[in-house]
Each structure stands twice: as C-alpha cells, then as structure tokens.
C-alpha cells in the first residue's frame, strides 16, 4: 500500500468498518467579512483547500476569503488560529473540538 508523503490521503483503498464514526465531520467555518483583510493565510494553509480568495470586496475594501467547499472541512481548526484578524470561527462538526 502506498501512502502519499506529507499529505492526508483522500482515497482509501478499503473503507474501514468504523469509517462513519471516525471520519472527521466537516465543521462550519464562518469568516467575519468586517474583520477579514484578505491576507490569504487561511486559504493557503487549509490542508483540504476548503477555502478560497473571492473577488468580493469586504466593507473595508479588502478582497475577502470565503468557504470554497464546506464538505472538505476536517474541523482541524487551523484556519481559526492562523487568521491574524480573529475573523474566523469554526463550529466543529464533532461534539468535541
């Protein structure tokens, strides 16, 4: 079995029996339009590329980040802690963070 170095595998050659319970559930990422300054850290460092830079301008004139694909989210919380503006809030899919 090959494992891709340094990346989370997205293709499983066999689904584990407890996949439904163990697989990370997508969280809800909320990006505060008023605080976002479009630095791009969340987009760049999201391990699943679930976020993207949009063309939309926020109320302060910055191009802001948006959720690209909610279903890819792993609730890892990196976007929340890598945002320098305290603009991102993650509501995790799981009960515990």
């Amino acid at each position: 079995m090959q494992s891709a170095k340094g990346t989370a595998h997205t293709k499983l050659w066999r689904k584990p029996f407890d996949h439904e319970q163990k697989a990370a559930k997508p969280g809800k990422v909320v990006i505060d339009r008023e605080r976002c300054k479009g630095c791009g850290y969340c987009v760049e460092f999201c391990p699943k590329e679930a976020l993207k830079m949009s063309d939309e301008l926020g109320p302060r004139g910055y191009t802001i980040a948006k959720v690209a694909d909610q279903s890819k989210c792993l609730s890892c919380g990196l976007c929340e802690i890598i945002c320098p503006e305290f603009a991102i809030n993650l509501e995790p899919g799981d009960d515990k963070k």
Partner: protein
C-alpha cells in the same frame, strides 16, 4: 466597532476596538492569538494578568487584549513592568513588545531584567524593522537587508536575541515564527507558568514595509520562507541561532533552566540579614527570662 458574529475568543479581546490596526498579513495578530490561547492553556487567573507594552506596532497589543494593560513609552516596558511586579508580586506580568523597542532603545533594560531573573514573560515580536514608523532598520535587521534607513543594504551586524538574553541570565529562552502556531501557544503557556525571566522571540511577517523592501511583499511570501527555511532545534545553543538574510532560521526552545528569581534572592538575603538584626531588647528579654 462591534462585529455581527461573536466568537469565543472575543471574551479576551476589546471587541469595541476591532478590527485592529495591523496590516493584512501582519503576524502580530497571530502572536496575540497564540498568546490568548496560551493563557487559556495555562489556566491563569485573568484578573491578575498585567500586559505592558512599548511603542510600535507590537506595542498596540496591550490595547486589544482585555486585561489590565499599559501602553508605556518607547523601550521602557520592562522597567515599568518591574515596578508593577515588585509592587504586587501576585501579578502575572507579561511584556509584549517589538524588536526595536526591546533591543535598541530598551536594550539596557532587557539585559538588566534578564540579569535579575525577575519573574515575568517577555514576548518579543521580531519583524526585523521599525514597522510603525515606516520600515527603518533596527538592531535585528539582517546584514544587507533593505530598509528606509539602509537603502543600499544594512551594514550593521544584527543581534541574535536568544543569545543576548540567555547570556544576560534569562532562564527560559525560545524562538518561534508565527507559522509555528501550536508550538508557540504551548511555549507561551509554559513560559507564563515558569517562574523567572522568560523570553520568547516571535518572528513575524511585515509585508507592508520590511517584506516589501526585501522581496517578500506578501505576508504569504514570508510565511512560505518560514515554512521552507525554519528548522526546529530544541535545546540548540542560542549562539548558533544567528539569522542571515534569506538564510535558515533556527527555532525551538533553547534554554529552560532553574535559577532563583529576583524575589527569591531578595527574600533569602533580607530574611537572613533582618533575622540577625533583631533588636537587642528582644534578645535581652529572653536572657532575663532564662535568669
């Protein structure tokens, strides 16, 4: 202005002052966010935290966190914090300031505070220049780096802050970049709880000035540089942590030793001396009782 959605982290922030003034891509917000999570992790009494900052972009941190905070004069956060701590030793004193503030104008106070091993935590955000005033070189600007006061390239050799502070006597010295979010959070939590002078250097992008003048105009460029060039060497000798322009960056926890703090030594010395100097009358009274 208060934003629409409220987040758990907002309880630690002065939300009526959000969004903050730091530029898009600036790492100070990240360091502040790690700081707040470090405080949570350490389980501190929030009412006893006193944040003291100096002047500069990093100095503005004091104004955004919801603790007793003091935005003092340039370079003088450390002596102010010393007075606070000696006036009320129960305070958990944190100094949050920049590379120019702490190591240039405040350099003398930095080495003396480390020498005394006074119990406080210093978070020094190093963005390699004086950002607030437009990007002048500072004591940590790498050799040959461009800045507004070194337009041909900096010809001064910079400080190696962990080396300087460790040599002066600090008992906890670490360096991380703002990309090392989890390590920085843990490091801050550890430093906050540890008695003695703890110094954490945090490297940060400064895209608007330093980055732009040194071919890393986007915060992302600097973050990629950290990603590619930083090397974690816990326990490394700080002497080997020099930073050269575009070169490798050694990060990690370098020093974590035990040494009595200023207060410990003070108590030790005074208790011994004042015990010996107890008034003669008392000793006489005991003697007469024995008779």
């Amino acid at each position: 202005m208060v934003t629409v959605t409220s987040k758990p982290i907002d309880q630690y922030l002065r939300v009526d002052r959000m969004p903050h003034i730091w530029c898009a891509g600036c790492g100070i917000g990240l360091a502040t966010s790690c700081f707040i999570r470090g405080i949570e992790r350490a389980g501190l009494d929030l009412d006893k935290i006193a944040v003291v900052s100096g002047i500069g972009c990093t100095g503005r941190v004091a104004g955004y966190v919801k603790f007793d905070s003091f935005h003092t004069t340039h370079g003088r956060a450390l002596p102010f914090a010393t007075g606070l701590k000696l006036g009320n030793p129960e305070l958990k004193v944190v100094v949050f300031s920049g590379d120019g503030d702490l190591a240039a104008i405040g350099g003398n106070h930095l080495i003396h505070s480390a020498r005394r091993n006074i119990d406080m935590t210093v978070i020094c955000i190093n963005n390699f220049n004086y950002g607030m005033t437009g990007g002048q070189m500072g004591p940590t600007t790498p050799l040959e780096a461009r800045s507004t006061t070194s337009p041909y390239g900096n010809f001064e050799y910079p400080f190696n802050l962990p080396y300087l502070v460790a040599a002066s006597g600090a008992t906890y010295v670490a360096r991380w970049t703002v990309l090392h979010l989890r390590q920085l959070e843990r490091c801050i939590a550890e430093a906050l709880v540890k008695p003695g002078f703890s110094f954490i250097e945090v490297l940060s992008p400064c895209p608007t000035v330093y980055g732009r003048m040194n071919k890393r105009a986007r915060g992302l460029d600097e973050m990629h540089y950290y990603q590619e060039k930083s090397v974690i060497r816990n326990g490394a000798d700080p002497k080997e942590a020099d930073i050269v322009l575009d070169g490798p960056i050694v990060v990690g926890k370098f020093i974590d030793i035990k040494r009595p703090t200023l207060w410990d030594y003070r108590r030790q010395v005074l208790d011994k001396a004042l015990e010996q100097k107890k008034p003669q009358a008392e000793k006489g009274a005991v003697a007469s009782q024995e008779q």
